[in-house]
Each structure stands twice: as C-alpha cells, then as structure tokens.
Amino acid sequence: MSPRIGDLLTYLAGIALAALFLMPLLWLVSLSLRTPAEVYLGAARFIPEAPTLANFRQILTDGAFGIYLWNAVKLCALGALGAVVVATPAAYAASRFTFHGKGPLMVGILMVQMISPLVVIIPLYRYLDRLGLLESHASVIAVYMAIGLPLSVWLIKVGFDAIPQALEEAAAIDGCNRAQILWRITLPLAAPALASAFILNMIMGWSQFLVPFILLTRDGQLPIAVAIYNFAGSSSASTTQLLAAACLVAVVPALAAFLALQRLILRAIMAGAVKG
C-alpha cells in the first residue's frame, strides 16, 4: 500500500472518529437551541430553523442554577486546593529523603486511589449524621480533598523529582534555612506540577456525584451535577430542550477549563497513569 493511500485512510478514519466523538455534543447543542416544536422533528432538522436562546435564558435566569454552579466551583476549588496543600509536604519528603518504609508507604497511598468512594461513603454518612455535619460544605470539601490526595502526592512528587537538588544545595550554602529554600526556590520551581495537580483535581471534583448527593440534602447547597440529576428526574419529554440547555451549562465549564489547559492536563495524566 502506498503511503498516500495510507494517509487518505488515516484521514477518513480520523474524520469518522472525530464525528463519532463530536456528534453527541453537537446533538446536545442542537436540542438546546430548539423550540419545543422543533424538538419533535428529531434528526430531520439538525440545525434548527428558528434557533432560540430562550432555553438558556430560562435556565440561567432561574437563580438556582447560578447557585448550583457557584456551589460546584466552590466545592471543587477548595477540595483541590486542600489536596495540593496537604499532598505537597508528603510529596517533597518522598522526593528528597530516603527512609525506612518509604516504598510501602507510597504504595499504600497509591492503593487508596483504587477504593471506590461508594465503599467509604456508607460509614461517612453515619459519622457525619451523628456529628450533625451532614449538609455542610466543609465535610464535602474534606472528602473531595481525600479523594484527590493519592494522585496529587504522586504527581507533585514527580514534579519535585524534576528539580535538581543542586539548586537547593546552592541556596543552603548561601545561608538559607530549609524553610526559606522551600519557599523561595523549590516551591516556585514546582509550580507547574502543583498547578497540574490542582486542575486535575478540579476537573475530577466537577464530575463528582455520589459524595454531594449523599452528604448534601438542602437544595441551595447542591453542586451542578446533582442539580441536573434532580432536574432530569422532574422534567418530561416536553422539556427536553431545557434539559439539554441545563446539561450544557454543567458541561461547558469543565470543557473550557480542559481546552484552556490541555497541555498541562495531558502531561499530568501521562505522569500519573504511565509512570504510576
């Protein structure tokens, strides 16, 4: 087979795959721009004849959706920040010091990653209930933080590993103590790794459903993923276009964050998944 025919086939397969992966999102956009009458036309009219933003207007002016979005941002940002802050000292120690039991400790942290939140949410629900902490954002943030920790420790450790130790030694000779070295030299150099860990945690937190669904019950506290689940339960065939718009509102922030920071995220997944 000549390389040119191979290229052609590569293009064809690539286009088919791109279409396959784009279609569901485009369909969602198509539905969200339709009037109820046009929803009933199905695929017969992919591009609406009378596109309308009314569905988005209705979703976004319903004050609750703004609150759901804000709740989601708050929960995942604080959870991600907490995970990075708590993971950093451990990652630093794992990168710089050798000590007895380090291997098993790091493997133990990795194993936590494999435990489904479904397993731990059962007792957590009971503890928090007994402590009167159900329905508090603080407890949800703490659980998000814990879920993000194992990956964060490993990712940030890889980041520290890449910083030459000679830089720290030079600073020590210049008379810096350990805290100064960490604060002025090491942490700024590790900033890309810290940022990747933060963003990856944010995106994973945005997808969380189980933890907030179980731990939060008051409507005003819910993040967007739980809110659209509830909204779907209360909607009917005649409100498909509204559900599509609500769904897009929940998806777009994650997509935008991903598109803006793609390189960083890609590097983080590779470091996390492949190097383990």
């Binding site: 397969a13 007895h100 479904l118 703490a142 559900l243």
Partner: protein, 291 residues
Amino acid sequence: MTGDRRIWLWFMPVLVVLGLVFAVPVADVIRLSFSDATLLRPVTGYGLGGYRAAYGDSSLPAILRNTALFTLLSVISLQAVGLAIALLLMRGDRRGLWGMGLLRTIVLAAWVIPGIANGLIWQMLFSEAPFGAINSALRLIGLAPVAWLSDPANAMASAVIANVWQGAAFSMIVFYAARRAIDPVLYEAAALDGASAPAQLLFITLPQMRGAILVNTVLVTIQTLNTFDTILVLTGGGPGRATEVLSLNIFNRVFYSYDLGGGAALAVLLLAISMILTLVYLAILMRRGAR
C-alpha cells in the same frame, strides 16, 4: 537527613486525612457488614445475617452477571477504541498529517464530561420517543427504529457505548505514550525485512506495548467496576434489572432500601475485587521496574 521520627511529620497531614476519610471507614464497612444495622437503626447484633441476606438474594446472580458483562464489554471496547485512536494519531504524527491534535482534543473532551451529564446526553441520543436522535436518523434513512433502552439486551449495549464514549480517552493516552516510547529502529529493521503493516502491529507494536496493555486493563477494570452514575441516569438499572451492576445495587440497597448491613457486605466484595486488581497492578509495575 534527620531521624526517622521527623520524616513522618511531613506525611502527617496526608495520613490523617486518608485515615479519617478512607482507613477508618473501610474498617467500619467491614464491621458493618457483619452487623444487622440499617440506615435508620443502629447495630443491635453481629453475625453473618447481612452476608446471608445479601449473598442469598435471588437477584444477586443476575446483578453479578450484569456486572461481569458490563465490565468485560467495556474493558475490551475501551482498550480497542483507545488503541485504535492512539495508533491512528501516531501514524498521523509520523506522516505530519493535519488535524491530529484536534482529534486528540475531541476525544479527550468527552473524558471531562461529568458521568451524570454523560448519562443524560446518551439518554437523549438513545431516546425511543419519535424524536430521539439515533432512531429519528435511522427512520430518515429508511431503517426501523431500535429499542435502545427498553430491550434488556440493547440496554446493556447502550450503557457500554455511553461508558466507552466517555472513557476511551484514558486508554488512548496510556497507549499513545507507550507507542511513542517504542524505539523506531525496530520498525526500520522490520521494514527492511519486508514486514507488512499488520505484521509490524502483531510482532512489534503489540508485544512492545504488553506492559501498557496489562496496566491499562487493570486500571480500566477498576474504573468500570466503580462506575454507576452514567448507568443511574441512562437506564436506572433497567429495564427490570437488566443493567443493574454491583455498584448501583449497593447504592440502591443502602440509600433507598436502608439495608446497611447487606449493602456493606456487598461493598466488601467490591472492595476485595478492587484490592486484588490493585495487587496485580503493583506486581506488574514492580516487574517492569525491575527490568
């Protein structure tokens, strides 16, 4: 460095958080699995009652069969699709073809969509109402509509498709990284010997990527076993119980039937499977590390 005692201080925050949110609850789930607790009533006694009730439940064999089928089909498809895209991207990169970065971005975009939204999107696509996307498209080209979600066999396939659409990006990245790490000299030598493209795939690419495939199998299996939000929205476990997998069953049992003991007993099973797979994963990593 300083003595061992001070080194543990660096790990204190991580250990405290993981201990409170994971270690203690895991121990508690194991304890609860031997109890008769419900969500509404504390433990009044211990025994194997929860296990007997949960594992003797007449619906359990069907649920385990669903779980096995969903996991098997998902893992095979996720890896096949991920591998195909990774190899396509690699070929495009090598030939300097346009748009490969775009394709990668599109596939990855599906990966950041929340599971709940994923289920909703696919429900709109599979909808059996006259205006459902796929069925109305089928009708346009003169084909009969398909009962995507109301026929038990199709519903399982639909759930797998939705899961694969969202998850394929992860396998793609793992395989893409592994494929790039293969020494190009191997392919040059094979080309000199006149090896065809399929032969190169079979005798160079796949054997060289064996480690990545093994690691990916374990990771994707654990992910799939723990997935239930997509299914929850797409089919709710139905029709009947045709798509109710173990994780969804635990969720329903604890939080809708309040059966804490029985749910915990099944959660222990889910945990045990994940931990066994994790040990396999670690064994593979260590063997690769030793080489």
